[in-house]
């Protein structure tokens, strides 16, 4: 059976993406989850994974082309027999050449002059129908389409402006559609800070943990107990997610932010989460996130501790229904057993969707996170 692979939405408000490169060629077998292409979006270059197992039959979009979300970018044969390993002959040396040739066959034909003219006029060639030889797009086709109304700014500015626009759209939609309620509570995180200090003193540098990772795990475990905060609100109803994927808000150096998910956060031990976290931040800043990581978060943790902020009043990213904020860790006077003592205090906050939960449930959710942080050895 042939399956169409469409450009997925790599974020709630993505409308289009530019195909940067293909990692597969016609004839290649791919499995669900394989990275098959790189797509440039407002959030940077994203590795796009395929959703089905199959053999690539056709690549429909040429690298460099901008296409709307939902455009069929490849066709796969999902029933092509999997070659048995022992029957697999050694690939002939010409195999890659042939498949590359086949890939070129599938490219949209655009003459060099037309491509140059399209860049000058800022015409999106993906939308054009060619009238040249073999249906190729010619200069005349480009000029007939005319210049786009606004000249595009330079690439870097364009990317930054694109991301700003994406954030603006998502946050506007959030504030327009989601009736937020906000809760905040200071939490004594001294046990977690002390436990971390002891742990990190005992292990090599590469195995050291950050408080952020304890927070991620605590949020994930709390979501298991409180499914009303981890899921998606779509078409007028809420669907809790069976698996918790905590998204981590990462500020980018060039401005803007992304919140890729640590997949199945609750199922990952701390050491693995630390690796995931480090990898995610690095790839987010390098602009090499996977599509699934951007679309997956069922809840987001945003931390502004580094910015010396006491309390974050976070805005939900639709279609999620909750977001947890963490302020800075500060030493405060705290009353323990009737005595004022210095303790490490962090203000945890919650922005939640009133259509799904109420403040009382939100308070219980925050209290659960605080309780988990109070016993870090059990995390």
């Amino acid at each position: 059976m042939l399956a169409e692979f469409r450009l997925p939405a790599l974020g709630a408000d993505m409308e289009a993406g530019t195909l940067v490169e293909w990692h597969v060629a016609p004839g290649d077998r791919c499995r669900r989850g394989d990275v098959v292409a790189v797509v440039e979006t407002d959030k940077g270059a994203i590795d796009v994974e395929i959703f089905v197992d199959g053999v690539v039959r056709e690549l429909r979009v040429l690298p460099g082309t901008r296409v709307p979300v939902g455009t069929v970018i490849a066709v796969l044969d999902t029933e092509a027999p999997a070659p048995a390993p022992e029957e697999l002959p050694p690939p002939p040396r010409t195999a890659t050449v042939e498949s590359a040739g086949a890939a070129i066959q599938q490219r949209a034909k655009i003459s060099p002059a037309a491509r140059k003219r399209a860049q000058e006029l800022h015409v999106d060639v993906a939308s054009l129908r060619g009238t040249g030889p073999e249906g190729a797009i010619t200069v005349q086709d480009v000029e007939r389409a005319g210049p786009s109304p606004q000249p595009l700014p330079a690439a870097a500015e364009e990317a930054a402006a694109g991301m700003r626009a994406a954030i603006a759209a998502a946050m506007s939609r959030s504030k327009r559609e989601i009736p937020h309620y906000y809760l905040a509570t200071p939490v004594d995180v001294t046990p977690a800070v002390d436990w971390l200090a002891a742990h990190n003193a005992a292990v090599p540098v590469t195995e050291r943990l950050l408080l952020a990772v304890l927070l991620v795990r605590a949020v994930a475990l709390a979501c298991r107990d409180h499914p009303g905060f981890s899921g998606f609100y779509r078409d007028g109803r809420y669907e809790p997610s069976p698996v918790v994927h905590v998204g981590v808000a990462v500020a980018l150096r060039g401005g803007g932010l992304v919140a890729p998910a640590i997949m199945d956060t609750a199922g990952r031990p701390l050491a693995a989460l630390m690796n995931d976290f480090r990898d995610l931040v690095a790839r987010a800043r390098a602009g090499r996130l996977r599509a699934s990581e951007l679309a997956a978060p069922t809840i987001i943790l945003t931390s502004l501790g580094e910015a010396s902020v006491e309390t974050v009043l976070p805005i939900i990213q639709p279609p999620q229904v909750a977001i947890v904020g963490a302020g800075m860790v500060a030493v405060r006077p705290w009353i323990v057993d009737g005595r004022v003592v210095p303790r490490h205090v962090l203000t945890l906050s919650l922005g939640a969707d009133h259509r799904v939960t109420d403040g009382r449930l939100g308070a219980q959710f925050l209290a659960r996170i605080a309780a988990l942080l109070a016993d870090p050895a059990a995390l």
């Binding site: 003459s111 060099p112 002059a113 009238t131 030889p133 190729a136």
Partner: protein, 330 residues
């Protein structure tokens, strides 16, 4: 002498030779049957009577010997014009031309230029069969040290000899067999003919036809037909095959963005291939369609008229190639 308004290519060539003989006592002609017989294609008819055996010299049937003698005469201070009957026969003299004429100036540090002019008939169209009809211009155009020209018009045929004799380098002049009987108007432009440079023979904006030699007129016929379909073809006559005038070709390509190269040589390793590659190297981003070539079919030129014509890059094939560049079924 008053020149007639319309003359043949043969007559124009003869006038060029005669002018050269009159202008410079160092100039003489040599070749097979050029004197008493008047030339295999009658180009030199009458010149023996006018200039005598000293300057119009019949030679034995040995291309290597008489081309070599011509090279020697050039080294000795003369200005020989050597006629080789056809380019097919010139292969017997290839060693003299490629290994001697083309190299001596370079090998002597510029002390011994070889100002020989070697004329040869080229191409098909007269039912002279495979051993007299080929187009080996590309073979000579490959060789540094040679200059290679192919006049395709009456004016160029009339004026090329003066320019060729003025060159210190050996010059190969190709004369298309099928054009000797062509009639045309001789104009003042004949006095301005240069050794180098291509020429826009017909201006147009829709497609560029790059060609040379007898194929120029195939392109003219094709262009007239295409004009009725609304396709305005520009024709570039290369004229000089070494060095190739990239600037004129590229200027035309930038204007029309589509190119068909029409070459009576075979396609493989052809001048058409060379011109096409130069266009890709220098004008890739100006192209709006793949470069097309119309060349002679890759067979030894057949003798029967209909097969000979079918093998050549005729107007119908040129028109079909142009239509394909516009996305029309050809």
């Amino acid at each position: 002498m008053t020149e007639p308004a319309r003359i043949t290519y043969r007559e124009a060539t003869k006038q060029g030779l005669r002018e050269a003989l009159l202008a410079d006592p160092r100039v003489f002609l040599m070749g097979e049957d050029i004197g008493r017989y008047g030339g295999c294609f009658a180009v030199s008819k009458g010149l023996l009577d006018e200039f005598g055996e000293e300057r119009i010299r019949d030679t034995p049937l040995s291309e290597s010997a008489f081309v070599g003698a011509g090279i020697g005469a050039a080294l000795g201070g003369m200005r020989p014009i050597v006629e080789v009957m056809t380019v097919n026969f010139s292969l017997l003299a290839l060693d003299q031309i490629v290994n001697t004429a083309a190299t001596l100036c370079h090998m002597s540090g510029g002390q011994f230029p070889v100002p020989v002019v070697i004329r040869m008939a080229t191409g098909a169209g007269r039912q002279l069969a495979a051993q007299h009809s080929h187009s080996f211009e590309a073979w000579y155009a490959h060789v540094p040290g040679l200059r290679v020209v192919e006049p395709a018009t009456i004016d160029d045929a009339r004026g090329i000899m003066r320019a060729a004799l003025a060159s210190p380098d050996p010059v190969i002049v190709f004369e298309p067999i099928s054009l000797y009987n062509m009639e045309g108007e001789l104009t003042d432009a004949a006095t301005q003919v240069q050794l180098e440079g291509a020429r826009v023979h017909r201006a147009g904006g829709g497609v560029t036809l790059v060609t040379y030699g007898a194929s120029l007129w195939r392109c003219v016929a094709a262009a007239e037909s295409l004009a009725q379909e609304g396709i305005d073809a520009e024709i570039v006559d290369l004229r000089c095959l070494r060095p190739i005038d990239d600037a004129t070709v590229l200027a035309s390509v930038r204007k029309t963005r589509r190119v068909v190269i029409v070459d009576e040589g075979w396609r493989t390793c052809s001048l058409a291939a060379e011109v096409g590659q130069r266009i890709v190297e220098q004008g890739f981003y100006d192209l709006d369609a793949p470069i097309a070539r119309v060349c002679t079919e890759e067979v030894p030129i057949p003798y029967p008229l209909h097969l000979e014509q079918a093998a050549l890059p005729g107007p119908e094939r040129i028109i079909a190639a142009v239509r394909r560049l516009f996305g029309h079924a050809g």
